[in-house]
């Protein structure tokens, strides 16, 4: 697992991927920080995080599109699958590689918090809680997108599909208002990422929200392992 994690990170940073993703992430977070914090004379980072939700949805497919699609295409998956590593180790290595990359992006918020602390007293509890929420949301999206990447040989398909899924997930609360049938409404509300994520941005740390995101991560990593396994048996 360590070997794969190390290689994944090396691959992000030896290509343009890491720098482009970070640049876009920093640009938008800086923009939102300016709008909602500096211009408003506020110390509240909630809106910044809230808006980053959409940026994350689009950036994560870019981070993860290579994970399995490229391996399959250039046949390097033969090295992974014939090595004495279990499928779980391989999938976890890939996931953690993308997750570390994403965490590095997210760390910019700690810088913003420090900037705020020069002018006023930041609400550390809210900031740290939101930081955790952002990591969990990102983790879930990474798990979903890693799964999408294992299904295809084309990076482009993986990225576009991932963005589509991201878009649907971000519009989930909008769908809720459209549907009139009660039970579908309840189901949609329960799987709306935004409603769980929002709680974090208000500084509310609840076990339900944490467990929700952790379950999504576990479920989709499990799916990824099964998809890899299935490929061997078909």
């Amino acid at each position: 697992m360590g070997a794969i994690l190390k290689r994944e990170l090396g691959a992000y940073f030896s290509s343009a991927t890491a720098y482009v993703v970070m640049a876009v992430y920093f640009f938008f977070s800086g923009l939102f920080f300016n709008f909602y914090v500096f211009s408003q004379n506020s110390t509240n980072l909630t809106y910044v995080f809230n808006n980053m939700f959409y940026i994350i949805m689009f950036l994560i497919p870019i981070i993860t599109m290579k994970t399995f699609a490229e391996e399959k295409k250039q046949k390097s998956d033969q090295a992974l699958l014939t090595s004495p590593c279990s499928l779980t180790e391989i999938v976890l290595g890939k996931f953690l590689g993308a997750f570390v990359m994403y965490t590095l992006c997210t760390c910019i918020f700690l810088v913003y918090a420090i900037v705020i602390s020069f002018f006023a007293q930041p609400q550390w509890s809210v900031i740290l809680c939101t930081f955790l929420g952002t990591l969990l949301l990102g983790g879930s999206m990474i798990a979903i997108n890693v799964f999408i990447s294992v299904l295809t040989e084309s990076q482009v398909v993986a990225a576009v599909l991932g963005m589509g899924v991201g878009l649907i997930i971000s519009m989930m609360s909008y769908f809720v208002s459209l549907v009139s049938i009660e039970w579908i409404k309840t189901v949609l509300e329960k799987i709306s990422f935004m409603s769980y994520y929002e709680n974090f941005t208000y500084g509310i740390l609840s076990i339900t929200d944490v467990v929700f995101f952790l379950s999504v991560i576990a479920l989709f990593l499990f799916f990824t392992v099964r998809a890899l396994e299935k490929r061997r048996w078909s």
């Binding site: 794969i4 046949k75 014939t82 590593c85 048996w233």
Partner: protein, 315 residues
């Protein structure tokens, strides 16, 4: 060392591998021969655990690939048809990654240096793989398979796409490796297999059609012997004399070399040796033999025969 039992792999209705069984002893170099699409790569992919079989078992050094995949995979070094390289890494970085991935317990730097020396890529260690030529990529793939000194090496068409000089080097390397490792390597080029292997398995349409020592193979499958002659003298006289020799089955004049010298080809049954009779017959009519060459049916002929027969049986 490697035991394959009743291996079958189906893709939907198509049987890519059909009930293959064979064993390879320690230190043996086994050639896996067959036309394209015969099921060589599929078999190798199953042995290494990349894909699973529909039925049948593979045992490497006592451990079974499905029951104990981690231990079994540690014992195998695999070079697939397309070397599993990461084009954006340098040669050394890649080998270090493969070293970690295979969980090798040897001293890292020394071992990688040794392997790179063996396949002669030491001077390319800091080059990025995508900038290497095909021959060098193949060697990096080779190096990767050798990491950790696995007792079994499985090489899928290791010489495809290389230039003749590189092919000779790779063959030499395989022969050298055969002293310490058990090697299974596939090819669709006969001369390569006969030059490198102790034993050959011919596979066609997913079935084994021949399994024999390299030198026995051509002998056992040839029911006729061939003799080619170059004789000076009138060709009608020569053919007349040849006809009289007992044991001759077929004779034909191949071509005129000059107005008096011609080449002939004679086929005769396996149990008779007609070379002495030919010599005295030609001496009797005063036609000197300039060249006489006896030869078994060539490996190529035999290979075509074997694989065509299998094709007919299949239909």
């Amino acid at each position: 060392m490697v035991e394959v039992k009743n291996l079958t792999k189906c893709y939907g209705d198509i049987k890519a591998v059909d009930d293959i069984s064979f064993t390879v002893d320690t230190g043996e170099v086994l050639g896996f021969l067959g036309p394209n699409g015969a099921g060589k790569s599929t078999t190798m992919n199953i042995i290494t655990g990349y894909i699973s079989s529909t039925s049948g078992t593979v045992t490497v050094d006592g451990s079974e690939i499905l029951e104990n995949p981690k231990e079994t995979k540690k014992k195998i070094g695999y070079l697939p048809e397309i070397p599993p390289l990461y084009p954006d890494m340098t040669v050394r970085k890649y080998l270090e990654f493969m070293f970690d991935l295979k969980k090798v317990k040897l001293p890292k730097k020394e071992h990688i240096d040794e392997v790179m020396r063996l396949v002669q890529i030491s001077d390319k260690e800091s080059r990025i793989i995508k900038n290497l030529s095909k021959g060098y990529r193949q060697r990096v793939g080779f190096a990767q398979a050798l990491l950790g000194n696995p007792p079994v090496l499985i090489l899928d068409e290791p010489t495809v796409g290389l230039d003749p000089k590189q092919i000779i080097e790779i063959r030499k390397l395989i022969r050298g490796l055969g002293k310490k490792h058990t090697v299974i390597f596939s090819s669709h080029v006969l001369s390569e297999v006969s030059a490198t292997c102790d034993r050959v398995i011919v596979i066609s349409e997913g079935r084994i059609v021949a399994d024999a020592k390299t030198e026995e193979l051509s002998k056992s499958f040839a029911d006729v012997q061939k003799l080619s002659l170059t004789v000076e003298g009138g060709s009608s006289d020569v053919l007349n004399e040849i006809k009289k020799i007992p044991g001759v089955k077929k004779y034909v004049k191949l071509r005129d070399v000059s107005d008096k010298i011609a080449e002939y080809s004679i086929e005769y049954s396996n149990d008779a040796d007609i070379r002495r009779d030919v010599f005295s017959a030609m001496a009797r009519i005063g036609c000197p033999i300039l060249e006489m060459k006896s030869g078994n049916e060539s490996l190529e002929d035999m290979f075509l025969k074997l694989t065509q027969n299998a094709g007919k049986r299949g239909k």
